[in-house]
């Protein structure tokens, strides 16, 4: 039983609250990713779970114990740091064994554990090397080895991949996922990279300004963001957000983007009473059709820049003077993309947010995963 429960957790520095009473339950064996922009309180939250920061208010439980006042070493958690924090004077083997030696584990047992961990992480040939003689990926693996060798109840990861190059990051991401599947240890992972969050997490916790904005599976967050912040944070490129006004259309409410363009929101029964309300229409870059399949409303645009990504291209355009990004397959040719003058909206995928509060008013579809 290695559930982690945060109840009304607060962190204050003097008068300033940086984490505002968050509630979160991480189930046993679950992989939860805390994601958000810099300064949103995700690392502080992780450090409070680790015991490296004092908890100003609320209750933190790991397993069946309340651990607010328990020292980090007695919480039975292990942490992988962003900068690895490998002891440079010790070799790989000694680094991995450090925690066991401190805890006065039997020498034979240490030797067995270290070689087992080295085997899992592919470090067997590097056990005698110092950290300075390792590549970034190998160092990160040593840092993970140091964490897993103790068989803790909970793993904490503090942006462990942010110092690696893009290729290595993708590789290590897969390794972390494999490791979690193999070890089945409750894991809490902090990152500002939504791709890491989407690929690794069983559930994602999106944080902003010390508060939780939304908790859900990656697909729930992608398909049904509860507010503009989540809509803008999850998905790459982020969701386009255009100002509009709710008007009464022939078949129901419509979001009027300009005098000539309105997007029908026929399934949005709740919006019938919102006529005249200022809203933000959210359209994901990939939910745009360049050629109408039948009856979709068209929106005029002005193409500013084409970014070819190989199989896909990003079209940076302006819609009514506001930036708008379209992600479209290239089929090996991007020249024609410059000639685009309008796009069609897949009305089944449109989101509508209240302009003032930013909360979702209408989700055209439901999460599928």
């Amino acid at each position: 039983m290695s559930q982690v429960v945060l109840e009304k957790i607060v962190k204050s520095y003097g008068e300033v609250d940086v984490v505002h009473g968050i509630d979160l339950t991480v189930d046993s064996k679950e992989f939860v990713v805390l994601v958000g922009p810099s300064g949103c309180g995700k690392s502080t939250t992780l450090r409070m779970i680790a015991g490296l920061e004092e908890i100003s208010g609320g209750k933190l439980s790991i397993g069946d114990r309340m651990v607010n006042d328990i020292a980090p070493k007695d919480r039975d958690v292990a942490m992988v740091f962003q900068n690895y924090a490998l002891y440079p004077h010790l070799n790989v083997s000694e680094n991995i064994a450090f925690g066991l030696r401190i805890r006065k584990v039997d020498k034979e047992e240490i030797k067995r554990s270290v070689s087992e961990v080295a085997e899992i992480l592919g470090l067997t040939n590097y056990l005698d090397r110092k950290p300075a003689d390792l590549s970034g990926g190998q160092r990160q693996r040593v840092a993970m080895g140091r964490a897993i060798v103790r068989h803790p109840q909970v793993f904490l990861f503090d942006e462990p991949l942010s110092n690696l190059d893009a290729q290595l990051r993708t590789q290590m991401r897969a390794e972390i996922k494999r490791l979690h599947a193999r070890l089945g240890v409750t894991s809490i992972y902090v990152t500002h990279d939504q791709v890491e969050a989407m690929t690794l997490a069983d559930r994602i916790v999106v944080m902003s300004a010390g508060r939780i904005e939304q908790i859900g599976t990656p697909m729930e967050l992608f398909m049904n963001p509860v507010n503009r912040f989540v809509a803008g944070f999850i998905g790459s490129p982020p969701m386009n957000q255009i100002k509009a006004t709710i008007v009464a259309g022939v078949d129901g409410p419509e979001a009027k983007i300009s005098d000539s363009v309105s997007i029908p929101l026929s399934r949005a029964e709740g919006l019938a009473s919102a006529t005249g309300q200022s809203v933000i229409v959210g359209i994901r870059p990939e939910d745009v059709l360049l050629e109408a399949a039948g009856g979709e409303p068209s929106v005029p645009l002005e193409v500013n820049l084409i970014e070819p990504l190989g199989s896909e291209a990003l079209i940076h355009a302006s819609v009514g003077g506001e930036p708008f990004v379209i992600k479209t397959p290239t089929h090996g040719d991007i020249a024609h993309l410059n000639d685009i003058r309008q796009f069609h909206v897949n009305v089944d995928r449109v989101k509508v947010f209240d302009e003032k509060s930013g909360s979702a008013l209408y989700q055209a579809d439901q999460a599928r995963g």
Binding site: L52, N83, A85, L86, Y87, P131, G136, R146
Partner: protein, 293 residues
């Protein structure tokens, strides 16, 4: 030597002036050593007549033989070793934990304690109160008084504290997560990472102990406890006042200058030998690879 053709005319001039000034500085630092060494190996009459400039004249070991045969020289030499070795060890034993504690953000009253230590850099009790204090504590004329009474040096504490503060916090945090207590964090993580700083502080302690003269002169009366520097002073005083010693100057193979120079050379040699052993720690990069900044 870098390729000077890559420099502009102004830069070339700047480099040449730098080299000239640094050479001048190096020579001015080195010359007293050379001169003293030359004097110690010269005859007394050559030194008195001002012939010795940079190399021994009328090469002789007479001054060294004179010093060698002084039993007090060996007693003082041994005392200096005792004060240096134990004094340095005790200093490190006090300075290292003190600097570590002062570097910890979680130390309650950290600001006050840091100010308290730094205060002694600018203000201290002065000669007479300190002497009275040592007397009342019964530390006059004792090895213990010299070793412990001067064990803590605020400058060294601050130097080491600053180095500890520069070590990434994540090392400590990682060690704590691994189960280390404060002592283990210091002993198993911070000390190995701080070898260059500790070597520097140790060298400062060694040199200051080895050259320690003033307080030893004030606090020690017993000849069997005086260090080499005090013996050197006593030698200079006694030989300059020794009329018989002076009257034989012209014929003697040694004079009080050559004897003094021989004692100085003898006292410099151990320190010269220590530096190469510590030099390997004066390299940056001990933290290399441990953390990714």
């Amino acid at each position: 030597m870098q390729n000077l053709n890559l420099y502009s005319r102004g830069d070339k001039l700047f480099v040449r002036i730098n080299i000239f000034l640094l050479t001048l500085f190096a020579l001015s630092t080195l010359y007293p050593f050379i001169y003293i060494a030359a004097v110690s190996f010269s005859s007394g009459s050559a030194v008195t007549s001002g012939e010795v400039i940079y190399r021994p004249i009328e090469l002789t070991l007479a001054a060294y033989e004179y010093v060698w045969n002084e039993s007090q020289f060996w007693v003082s030499y041994m005392n200096t070793f005792i004060y240096t070795i134990f004094g340095t060890l005790v200093s490190l034993l006090i300075i290292i934990p003190g600097a570590y504690a002062l570097s910890r953000p979680q130390l309650i009253g950290r600001r006050f304690f840091n100010l308290f230590v730094a205060f002694t850099l600018w203000f201290n009790a002065g000669l007479i109160p300190f002497f009275l204090n040592m007397r009342d504590l019964g530390l006059l004329d004792s090895y213990f008084g010299i070793i412990v009474g001067f064990a803590c040096n605020a400058f060294n504490v601050i130097l080491l504290r600053n180095f500890f503060e520069g070590i990434p916090q994540s090392f400590e945090e990682a060690a704590r997560m691994d189960g280390a207590n404060d002592f283990q964090v210091l002993w198993k993580v911070y000390l190995p990472l701080s070898k260059p700083a500790i070597a520097t502080v140790a060298l400062f302690c060694i040199v200051s102990r080895w050259n320690g003269f003033f307080w030893a002169m004030i606090l020690l009366r017993d000849e069997s406890k005086i260090p080499l520097q005090v013996f050197l002073r006593q030698t200079i005083v006694s030989l300059t006042n020794d009329e018989e010693f002076g009257s034989t100057l012209l014929e003697a193979a040694y004079s009080y200058e050559t004897v003094t120079a021989a004692i100085i050379v003898a006292s410099i040699i151990p320190v010269l030998f220590i530096y190469p052993f510590l030099q390997k720690y004066f390299n940056k990069g001990i933290l290399l690879g441990g953390v990714k900044e």
